[in-house]
């Protein structure tokens, strides 16, 4: 593994950096927008957890599938989805990915393989297994990657999906982003083992994989290996990536239940982006190249914000469409 990391191409590294940065800047903007009351409803930021989405996003094949949670803005963006579409959805605008019908917790872009963001804990693990089964059946060598949190490992669907995927040897990669908290409760208070995913891998005959989820090189290398295994027909993987969210659980949460020192440590010493920037400089990448990415990202975010802000609310009539494949919502003749 270490070899693989040493040998990453510069191009890949810049992609990883750009991808993380786009996530970070987009979500900072999302935060600003809801401070201005322009984002309605709720919103769950992944600030601080960008390395996981980015590492997988860069490693995945364009036709692979992503399944993520309500905390899925980043997982959606890294697949190449339009930032305007994402911000527009958060703002309930017509340009939103789902024209406002889904909202921030359900970002989806099928054309990019973003097969939905799921807001009820656990459900998307078996659904991801189903997409993997379909890929296996059709012989396409596509892989389904399924992201979820530490808290999710305690719900029944986790267990069923893991066992099922192993028994059918499905091309699915389960990625547990352990950010140490479920909603407001420390994961250790409600879990029988220290590492909620890694310590349970053996219960499904799987290798225990525990990584630093804030080191994007490690995430990328781990992703490549698991994707390859899945693509070769060797079955699922379960990866636990340690990370931390910089903000509260959701819009309404100031995150006061976390010790100040803990938050400070993760923000200052273990920030995936500033640490990676330092590493890239150390590896001899020119600062100008990084600054270029940074400028382009800022511009991208500004443009997306403007486009989304200028988009009107969706016509309310569309609320009555697309329950059924014929486009209607009618349940009688």
């Amino acid at each position: 593994m270490n070899d693989k990391i040493q040998n990453l191409k510069q191009d890949t590294r810049l992609k990883l950096y750009r991808s993380m940065l786009e996530c970070r800047q987009m979500e900072q903007r999302a935060y600003d927008l809801f401070m201005q009351n322009l984002v309605k409803g709720t919103s769950h930021l992944g600030l601080g957890q960008e390395a996981i989405a980015a590492g997988f996003g860069v490693a995945m094949r364009a036709d692979d599938y992503t399944f993520c949670t309500y905390r899925g803005h980043n997982h959606t963006l890294v697949r190449g989805v339009s930032m305007t579409g994402i911000l527009g959805e958060l703002m309930g605008r017509d340009c939103g990915l789902m024209r406002g019908k889904g909202g921030s917790m359900h970002l989806t872009s099928v054309e990019h393989g973003v097969m939905g963001s799921y807001a009820i804990i656990g459900a998307h693990l078996p659904i991801a297994a189903g997409a993997a089964w379909s890929a296996q059946y059709r012989g396409t060598e596509q892989v389904a990657v399924c992201f979820f949190g530490d808290g999710t490992t305690n719900i029944g669907a986790f267990h069923e999906a893991l066992n099922f995927s192993v028994v059918w040897s499905l091309p699915v990669v389960f990625v547990c982003e352990n950010n140490l908290y479920m909603e407001y409760t420390p994961i250790g208070d409600v879990t029988a083992v220290a590492n909620p995913a890694a310590d349970r891998a053996a219960a499904y005959g799987l290798e225990s994989i525990l990584i630093d989820g804030n080191d994007v090189d490690v995430v990328y290398a781990t992703a490549c290996k698991a994707l390859e295994r899945a693509r070769k027909g060797e079955g699922p993987s379960l990866i636990e990536a340690l990370t931390y969210r910089h903000h509260g659980h959701s819009r309404a949460d100031p995150g006061k239940y976390r010790p100040d020192e803990e938050v400070a440590m993760w923000k200052e010493q273990r920030d995936p982006i500033s640490n990676y920037r330092a590493r890239l400089l150390e590896l001899g990448i020119a600062e100008a190249d990084l600054v270029a990415i940074e400028t382009e990202t800022d511009e991208l975010v500004d443009r997306a914000t403007e486009e989304a802000s200028n988009s009107p609310p969706p016509p309310v009539e569309i609320a009555m469409t697309d329950v059924w494949a014929d486009g209607s919502s009618s349940w009688r003749n």
């Binding site: 599938y65 990915l97 789902m98 024209r99 019908k101 889904g102 909202g103 359900h106 989806t108 872009s109 099928v110 097969m115 939905g116 799921y118 009820i120 656990g122 459900a123 998307h124 693990l125 078996p126 659904i127 991801a128 297994a129 189903g130 997409a131 993997a132 089964w133 379909s134 890929a135 059946y137 059709r138 389904a144 029944g156 669907a157 069923e160 999906a161 066992n163 099922f164 028994v167 059918w168 569309i318 469409t321 697309d322 329950v323 059924w324 494949a325 486009g327 919502s329 009618s330 349940w331 009688r332 003749n333």
Partner: protein, 325 residues
């Protein structure tokens, strides 16, 4: 035409679709090697092999989740939930995920899947293996709901359900598995959303579903021969989409509606139908709308009690007579 049992019609219906479209797959517990606990899927593994007909662990959330994921990515899965009571263990995936995903994603996904399940009472299996829960499904926007009463409809409606781009809950009534009837050979499809008028009458419209259909027909015969009351009997067949056209036409003509439901009373499909008629056909009504249902109780196991609480031919006859008086 072949004479098949309702149970054999299930296997025939699934086989027809597996043969027709290589994207159709069928999964569930004990459905492959064993041919199903109701022997309704015998022979499918032998004909189609384990890639298309697969046994699953006791993991209903995984089974239904897998069906959903597959339906979103090009397959047309049929998933079996052994008893409809067990829909409760995977209700999140059905009611919150499968039903809502097309809508939430502004139509980005199709969800062509069928969940087949054995529904209803009569086998003395007790409260956790005898429920009629078609109303659970009807209450969820985004689900189509079908419940055939004859072997021919089993095959034909199952074909339509599999070919439909939307998720369909397909309720097979346990107490009908042994009944027989003519089933068309060759490609047989009965469109979803069409009620079937089984008998024309002038005095009252009786609307029934699944195992209640033969009872309603029997009751209509008795009403005619013994009491001079002439009843239209309609097999509603599909709760969503609901064929209000056919039903309303009949109720307008007879002025009287009786529903016969196997489900416990509160919030049954008959309540919905009654409320539609009370709202839209009020001025055509000549008398109260009567619902004949199982009482609002869990089901007892012992044969004597189970028989006593399900709507019987006698109870239907009495209810109609009281209405017609």
């Amino acid at each position: 035409m072949a004479q098949l049992s309702y149970r054999e019609a299930v296997a025939a219906g699934i086989a027809q679709e597996l043969r027709r479209d290589s994207n159709v797959v069928f999964i569930g517990e004990d459905i492959a090697s064993a041919g199903g606990v109701f022997k309704a899927t015998v022979g499918l593994l032998e004909e189609f092999g384990p890639k298309r007909v697969r046994d699953c662990p006791i993991s209903e959330q995984a089974i239904i989740g897998a069906a959903m994921g597959a339906a979103m990515t090009g397959l047309r899965p049929i998933a079996e939930i052994m008893f409809s009571d067990f829909l409760a263990v995977c209700w999140d995936i059905i009611a919150n995920q499968i039903a809502k995903t097309r809508y939430m994603t502004n139509g980005q996904f199709s969800m062509p899947l069928v969940i087949r399940t054995a529904n209803g009472a009569g086998s003395r299996f007790g409260a956790q293996h005898s429920q009629s829960v078609e109303n659970w499904a009807m209450a969820i926007p985004g689900l189509k709901v079908v419940a055939p009463s004859t072997p021919a409809d089993v095959k034909g409606l199952l074909a339509a359900a599999v070919r439909d781009p939307d998720p369909v809950l397909f309720f097979e009534q346990k107490s009908l598995y042994g009944t027989k009837g003519e089933v068309p050979e060759g490609d047989h499809v009965v469109p979803l959303g069409k009620a079937k008028v089984l008998r024309q009458g002038d005095d009252v419209t009786i609307v029934a579903l699944a195992a209640m259909v033969p009872r309603a027909v029997k009751a209509a015969e008795t009403l005619h021969s013994e009491h001079g009351i002439s009843a239209t009997v309609i097999d509603v067949r599909s709760l969503v989409p609901l064929d209000t056209t056919t039903i309303f036409e009949s109720v307008s003509a007879t002025g009287r509606l009786v529903t016969v439901e196997e489900n416990p009373r509160l919030c049954g499909w008959g309540a919905e139908l009654s409320s539609l008629v009370a709202e839209e056909l009020f001025w055509d009504l000549e008398g109260p709308i009567v619902r004949v249902t199982t009482p609002h109780i869990p089901l007892p196991a012992a044969d004597s009690m189970e028989d006593a609480v399900l709507p019987s031919v006698e109870r239907i006859v009495d209810s109609v007579r009281r209405l017609a008086d």
